[in-house]
């Protein structure tokens, strides 16, 4: 099985965790960040992961994305068992099959917006499909800012550049870690509408960690974590329902 394998058409599960457990520290002082989490992330859907601070939501995302390793359990991206990959294979997995949007510091300051967008392709020695690139750039509304460097872009624009970069390789999954955490509500809305658009129009799979009920309401499904365990799920969420659920979690 190659990490370069293209996503299969018929696949319905984009990623899967089975019995995922993550311990920090050892012995009595060990902290159980993830405690036997099992979940399947459906392909072509927008999944939000929520939970109070320390619930393990970020840890789950990092382990899913191959940035961190589980203490026990299994993570699969498509049919690929992430735990079995070497550092080099993990790098290629991230480059070719995954997309990332972080909360801050998403862009290389020396590169222009355009260069940042095509960076994963360039790292693989590939050129962007011009039509697809134009489509993504138009969708994030940055066609006139492509020659600018990150320092010349607003926070919202920077995050949209990051989103465009995450999509340009047509990845199996885009992982977004609090992508709107540092944005005002207007910029947040623009970014989230774009992510929703990507799911609806291109069938993109997105997994997003957030603590913002409004952000989570853009998802198809919300996964609630507490103390490293999945406590509930919600489909067709709205901000109000999520807020209620969060209150139930004690936040």
């Amino acid at each position: 099985m190659s990490v370069l394998q293209s996503p299969s058409e018929a696949r319905t599960v984009a990623a899967r965790v089975v019995g995922a457990t993550k311990l920090y520290g050892r012995g009595d002082s060990a902290v159980r960040a993830l405690d036997d989490v099992s979940f399947e992330f459906p392909a072509g859907a927008f999944t939000a992961i929520m939970g109070p601070s320390g619930s393990g939501k970020s840890t789950l995302l990092h382990c899913l994305a191959g940035l961190d390793t589980l203490t026990s359990g299994q993570v699969c991206i498509g049919d690929t068992d992430v735990a079995k990959l070497s550092d080099g294979e993990l790098t290629l997995l991230r480059r070719n099959r995954l997309g990332f949007i972080f909360q801050t510091y998403n862009l290389v300051p020396t590169l222009t917006a355009q260069e940042n967008i095509v960076l994963p392709l360039r790292l693989g020695g590939r050129n962007a499909d011009p039509e697809w690139l134009a489509q993504v750039v138009a969708a994030v509304g940055l066609a006139d800012r492509l020659g600018h460097r990150p320092a010349e872009l607003s926070g919202g624009q920077q995050q949209r550049v990051a989103a465009a970069r995450a999509l340009v390789t047509r990845p199996e999954i885009v992982f977004a870690d609090e992508p709107t955490g540092a944005l005002d509500s207007r910029s947040s809305g623009e970014l989230l509408r774009f992510l929703r658009h990507a799911v609806d129009e291109y069938g993109q799979t997105i997994v997003m960690v957030t603590h913002d009920p409004v952000a989570a309401s853009y998802a198809d499904r919300v996964l609630f974590l507490r103390d490293g365990r999945v406590v509930s799920q919600m489909t067709e969420p709205t901000a109000d329902r999520i807020l209620d659920a969060m209150k139930g979690l004690g936040e």
Binding site: R94, F100, T104, Y105, L107, T110, P120
Partner: protein, 845 residues
């Protein structure tokens, strides 16, 4: 505040050490040179103290000034004077002694020529106390004309024992055969400061050394109730004019001083190299502290915000500099002892044997090491420290780092002006001969100008140099990063510019010298053969060589040339002596006015430049002071233009020389064959005729050119080794800058890794950045070095550089190697960059 600084230092041990290295090597050079100088001086002092032991007063000819060569020690005095001295009240014993030129041969017939020390012959002093440290180790004293005592070092190295026969060459008369009857040492030492010594029975010595009925000096020991000073004044009373009595303490003091002045040349050269490495090192310190201060901007602002004063911030940064300087001084001093041992070995390898004694570490050396290490570091850190105090407290609250400032306008204006002046000076130096001042000032102005403009030049330079690699993603990132902080790149590259510019300039000058050697010889020499001593350390060729050549019917003209030191005006300078009758047939001096034939015994020929500078014309009187005979008024009989063959602007006749110097050694003998006799033939004949002079090298023009080119290459090799040190320090600077940059870009590197950059690609990007920084330094160094080298080659025309040869291949190779050395400099920082923990980098703090 102080505790805080020290805690910070402890947390950055590796950085501290890396920074200290850049100045450490310079300190090691300084202390190594001082240790070596002190050691050599101590060894010679011990030796002379031993030699004058047992003698209270020495009688000798007065010297008008102290010449440096041992052989030109003093005019001989009549042997009868010994009796006069013996009759002085208070004299316990008095004996004449003499030394002169005697070159021993080894058992295979090769000359035993020590490096940098004379080959002496002496008469045996019978009074054991007056003989100083001279003591027979085995055998007996010489008693008959055919007997000799050999110094223990020569005996040991060339395995001579009592009973062996040994051949010895003197100033006249060729080789003579002797029987070794004894081996002598000098106190604990096996020889006299590296000199070889053959001791003969006194009357024999007088004959062999051309001093029949004469001595060089009289050694006197006083009775117990007379002080040396009192004895000296009593003896002085009975001495005729031209002679003096000197206490042994004064003699030892003189010897010590002359050793020091002989060593001062080496001290200056080595300290010069030390200065270069310190200059390069100071740029690295400056750069490192600039980066540290920039990175710690928020920390300093926070300290300001909670009440730290500007002076406290300044003190904190400078304390760190002092600690770096102290670390560098301690380690540098330790390394300096190693350097001293290494330099002694290096001098030994080129034939300069030094008497051995324990390495001398004086308080002055320790002080110098600490002063140099701490001061250079402090001065280099001063500007960054001052900048740290300018950070406003509010900076602690700002999210982003301060934006990169553009170069100040004044900096551009002054830098531009300096560069323009420098280029003008260099152009002037290159377009005309001997513009030394223009070359020196032009070099300085150009260098400082380039230094000031470098931050502006970095971006375009990196863009151009990096163009070929920008197609690859790692090359492109490397190119962007190299241009990211132009000041940082500029000051890192500057360190390399200094080292490389020097290497290239020296290469150009050396290449010009090599190209000139042939031209000089072709223009100035009309001789078929030029005979010289086969060792550069030998005092010359015995007069017997020229005499022997004159017996060859095929040798049309044999003309010898001698050299002696004289004082003209305030300067002690070499004076050449030629045979006025024959010199025109073997050499072309380029006579501008007058004629060599008119030299006679009171004439002097001057170079046209010197005559012009001194305002002298044909007929003008000129006072020349000779060491042995004092002041003489000579008359200028002509001027000449080509000093390159004889190497001095003053020429007298052999007659004048013989009247004022006592040795008979030729610096060169020039031979012109009779018409119809080929060079090869006369060379063969000369070789046969001079079989008994193995110490003479017989060269035709081509041989001589080869020899001179080889010696230039040898010298160049040594200079390269010294300058290489500066280049190595500069590359350490690249390591330091990259390491700090990598640290600064942890988040960016993590992001790159997260979106799919492999470790190999990370390493490659850092490597390209290093190569580009090094390439900026290499290109600037190459251009500057070529210009400086060409300017100095022209400026040094008077030293015989008639052809300026600017080689391209060798300097280009140096530059390419320097740029590629960036790859080596990048190894550690690249590895560190590749190990960045992605998770920690991408998770918001």
């Amino acid at each position: 505040m102080f505790t805080l600084t020290l805690k910070g230092l402890r947390a950055r041990k590796v950085r501290l050490f890396l920074t200290a290295i850049s100045i450490l090597l310079g300190v090691a050079f300084v202390s190594g040179t001082l240790v070596l100088t002190d050691t050599v001086k101590a060894a010679f002092d011990q030796l002379y103290a031993g030699l004058t032991q047992g003698t209270d007063v020495t009688v000798r000819a007065t010297s008008a000034f102290s010449a440096t060569s041992t052989l030109q020690a003093g005019k001989p005095l009549p042997a009868s004077l010994v009796d006069t001295v013996r009759q002085v009240d208070g004299v316990a014993a008095a004996e004449g002694s003499l030394t002169g030129y005697a070159l021993m041969l080894d058992k295979s017939g090769k000359p035993i020529q020590p490096g940098g020390a004379p080959t002496l012959g002496a008469g045996h002093t019978t009074d054991p106390e007056l003989a100083g440290g001279f003591t027979l180790r085995s055998g007996r004293a010489p008693q008959a004309p055919g007997e000799v005592v050999v110094d223990a070092a020569t005996a040991r190295k060339y395995s001579y024992q009592p009973g062996d026969t040994i051949n010895i060459i003197f100033e006249s008369g060729g080789q003579r055969r002797f029987t070794v009857v004894g081996i002598a040492g000098f106190g604990k030492a096996d020889n006299l400061a590296g000199a070889t010594l053959a001791t003969f029975e006194m009357t024999t010595a007088q004959q062999l050394l051309n001093m029949t009925g004469q001595y060089r000096q009289i050694d006197v020991r006083g009775k117990a109730d007379v002080t040396p000073a009192e004895l000296r004044s009593r003896i002085a009373h009975v001495l005729p004019a031209g002679l003096e009595a000197v206490t042994s303490a004064a003699v030892a003091n003189e010897a010590s001083k002359s050793i020091q002045s002989a060593l001062s040349m080496f001290t200056k050269i080595f300290l010069g190299f030390a200065a270069v490495s310190l200059l390069v090192g100071s740029f690295i310190i400056w750069n490192t502290f600039s980066i540290l201060v920039a990175q710690r901007g928020r920390e300093h602002a926070l300290l300001r915000a909670i009440g730290a004063g500007r002076r406290q911030i300044l003190g904190s940064v400078l304390t760190e500099a002092v600690v770096v300087g102290l670390v560098a001084s301690v380690l540098g001093l330790a390394l300096g002892l190693g350097v001293a041992a290494g330099l002694r070995g290096l001098l030994g390898a080129v034939g300069m044997e030094l008497p051995s004694t324990a390495l001398q570490l004086h308080a002055r050396t320790v002080l110098a090491a600490f002063a140099v290490g701490v001061l250079v570091t402090l001065v280099a850190a001063l500007a960054p420290a001052w900048r740290a105090t300018r950070i406003p407290p509010i900076a602690a609250l700002r999210e982003a780092a301060a934006p990169v400032r553009d170069a100040a306008t004044w900096r551009l204006i002054i830098g531009g002006l300096l560069l323009a002046c420098g280029v003008a000076g260099l152009t002037r130096a290159i377009s005309a001969d001997s513009q030394t001042a223009a070359a020196a000032l032009g070099t300085l102005a150009t260098f400082v100008g380039v230094l000031m403009l470098a931050p502006v030049a970095v971006r375009p330079l990196v863009r151009v140099l990096g163009a070929p690699i920008s197609r690859s993603v790692t090359g492109g990132l490397g190119r962007l990063n190299a241009a990211r902080s132009p000041r940082r790149t500029a000051s890192t590259a500057t360190a390399l510019v200094i080292g490389l510019a020097l290497v290239v300039a020296v290469t150009v000058v050396a290449s010009s010298i090599k190209a000139s050697v042939g031209d000089v010889l072709d223009r100035a020499s009309r001789a078929d053969l030029i005979l010289k001593a086969d060792s550069q350390f030998a005092a010359g060729v015995p007069a017997g060589v020229a005499d022997k050549l004159r017996t060859l019917p095929e040798a049309g003209t044999v003309s010898e040339m001698r050299w002696g030191m004289a004082q003209i005006g305030a300067a002690t300078t070499p004076v050449a002596a030629l045979d006025p009758a024959t010199v025109d047939q073997v050499a072309n001096l380029g006579i501008a006015s007058g004629s060599v034939g008119a030299l006679g015994t009171d004439g002097i020929l001057l170079s046209a430049d010197v005559a012009k500078a001194k305002g002298l014309t044909v007929g003008s009187p000129l006072t020349v002071r000779f060491a042995q005979t004092g002041d003489h008024q000579l008359h200028v009989i002509g001027t000449f233009t080509d000093t390159t063959l004889i190497g001095t602007p003053y020429v007298v006749s052999l007659g004048t020389y013989d009247a004022n110097f006592s040795d008979r050694l030729d610096i060169a003998v020039l031979v012109k064959a009779k018409p119809g006799v080929s060079t090869a033939h006369i060379k063969r004949l000369a070789a046969t005729a001079l079989a008994e002079y193995p110490n003479v090298a017989i060269s035709d023009a081509n041989d001589l050119k080869d020899t001179q080119r080889k010696s230039v290459d040898q010298l160049l090799g040594m200079v390269y080794v010294m300058l290489l040190l500066a280049v190595v320090i500069a590359l350490l600077g690249v390591v330091n800058t990259l390491a700090l940059s990598v640290l600064e870009r942890t988040r960016e590197l993590g992001l790159l890794r997260a979106v799919g950059m492999t470790r190999r690609q990370v390493r490659s990007a850092v490597r390209w950045e290093a190569v580009l920084i090094a390439a900026v330094g290499a290109v600037l160094g190459l251009i500057l070095g070529l210009a400086f080298g060409a300017a100095f080659s022209r400026a040094l025309a008077s030293l015989g550089i008639v052809t300026v040869d600017v080689p391209i291949a060798q300097p280009l190779l140096c530059a390419v190697i320097a740029a590629l050395a960036g790859v080596v400099a990048a190894i550690a920082p690249a590895r560190r960059a590749a190990k960045v923990d992605i998770l920690r980098a991408v998770v918001a703090e």
